[in-house]
């Protein structure tokens, strides 16, 4: 009687806690990052990855299709080698290009893929040939300032 209702309340309490955990995992956390459908890895070389970090999203036309797995450096070319884990359910042409972009002015950086026209597709271990490095704001600004400075000194 009394013990029964106490057990019921405790049971409900524990369930509420587990439901909260489930909500955090499914609705708040990114369950897709766990790659339930499996992924395949492709690499892309960049001259400069800017502030790209592992786990950053990989998107095609703004839709998330995978994430950055690793960023290493090629000891011969001194280029950054970015390994991308792409979801198995998507296939992309082999002549697709990859670029590093920034979400908003100060947002985080991500990799954007632009599909090409080839009939052959990227598969595990493929390499994306055409890449566009991160646009680094400071570099653009300093270039702008230098060219301005050169211009004005020539003028005087």
């Amino acid at each position: 009687m009394q013990a029964r209702s106490m057990e019921l309340t405790v049971g409900l309490f524990v369930m509420a806690g587990l439901l909260a955990l489930a909500m955090l995992a499914l609705k708040v956390g990114n369950i897709h990052a766990l790659n339930l459908g499996g992924t395949y890895a492709v690499t892309a070389d960049f001259n400069d990855v800017g502030s790209l970090k592992p786990k950053a999203p990989v998107t095609v036309a703004g839709v998330r299709v995978g994430h950055v797995a690793r960023i290493t450096i090629n000891p011969q070319t001194y280029q950054a080698v970015v390994t991308l884990d792409l979801l198995k359910k998507y296939r992309f042409p082999r002549d697709s290009s990859a670029s590093i972009e920034t979400a908003g002015l100060l947002g985080e950086q991500y990799v954007s893929l632009s599909p090409g026209g080839s009939r052959r597709y990227l598969k595990n271990g493929s390499k994306i040939r055409i890449t566009q490095s991160a646009i680094i704001l400071e570099k653009i600004i300093s270039q702008l300032l230098y060219s301005k400075a050169g211009h004005s000194s020539g003028h005087s």
Partner: protein, 263 residues
């Protein structure tokens, strides 16, 4: 001159007695260990204590969680809107709650609501000779009285912390979408792209498990160690809240430092 020496001596005495207390607490935990297994075999007692500690703390956790989430949404919005980044509000709220505020505030609330009650209950059982009576009935109070309360506290804190974070996020959603006019889809999608299950949610869960252990340990130790008088029990209750709060914040700093460095 002698005043300075006295001050330093007083400080030394406090440090020594503090270390001594920690030693006593550790010894107590060691003595409690076999009882923990025995108590686990009698789940009924743990369920009873889960009701006393967990369920009765639930209301304050629900209310606090909702308010903290709503406040975070309002404050976060006001800051983010200056950088035109209000779309990240969901992410900001979720990370703050899941990583930090959920585990820490829940543990602090638990220490104040249930931890102090645990100490007072055990202390009063001691003061009214209930524990002595059990000993004379050949019943060891450690597995029978202390261990179920310890288990219940340890189990309740992580569950409550998850509930706190979830309710907080829902509260923030209501304010953000209902009052501030943010788009609900953006709220959730930004959150999902930025909150990592393995780092952020697991990290918060680990923190709350550690806090649950420490708060329950302090509460049952202070109760069992209390002087069996009404003054002794009230002092022990205060000590539980103070030491638990300090332990929670100190451990939180250490764990956060380790987690952010990716260890």
């Amino acid at each position: 001159m002698s005043w300075g020496a006295d001050t330093i001596r007083a400080l030394g005495r406090r440090v020594i007695s503090g270390i001594g207390r920690l030693g006593h607490a550790v010894l107590f935990l060691v003595r409690l260990m076999p009882g923990l297994g025995v108590a686990l075999a009698r789940g009924r007692l743990i369920i009873q204590q889960l009701y006393m500690t967990g369920v009765l703390t639930l209301v304050i956790v629900l209310v606090s969680g909702a308010f903290v989430g709503m406040i975070l949404a309002l404050q976060g919005y006001n800051t983010l809107v200056r950088y035109d980044a209000q779309s990240s509000l969901g992410l900001l709220v979720a990370l703050s709650l899941v990583r930090e505020l959920g585990p820490v505030l829940t543990a602090l609330l638990f220490a104040g609501r249930a931890g102090s009650a645990l100490t007072a209950e055990i202390g009063l059982m001691k003061a009214t000779e209930q524990l002595d009576g059990m000993e004379m009935m050949a019943v060891d109070p450690l597995p029978r009285v202390v261990a179920p309360r310890f288990w219940a506290g340890w189990i309740a804190v992580p569950l409550l912390a998850m509930i706190f974070s979830a309710v907080g996020i829902i509260g923030a959603y209501i304010v953000a979408v209902g009052d501030l006019g943010l788009d609900g889809g953006v709220f959730w999608s930004q959150m999902q792209s930025g909150v990592s299950i393995s780092n952020d949610i697991m990290g918060g869960l680990i923190k709350s498990v550690v806090f649950g252990f420490v708060v329950s340990w302090i509460a049952v130790f202070e109760g069992y160690d209390a002087k069996p008088t009404s003054e002794g029990v009230s002092r022990a209750t205060t000590r539980t809240v103070v030491s638990s709060s300090l332990a929670i914040l100190g451990l939180d700093f250490i764990m956060t430092a380790f987690m952010l460095r990716g260890l």
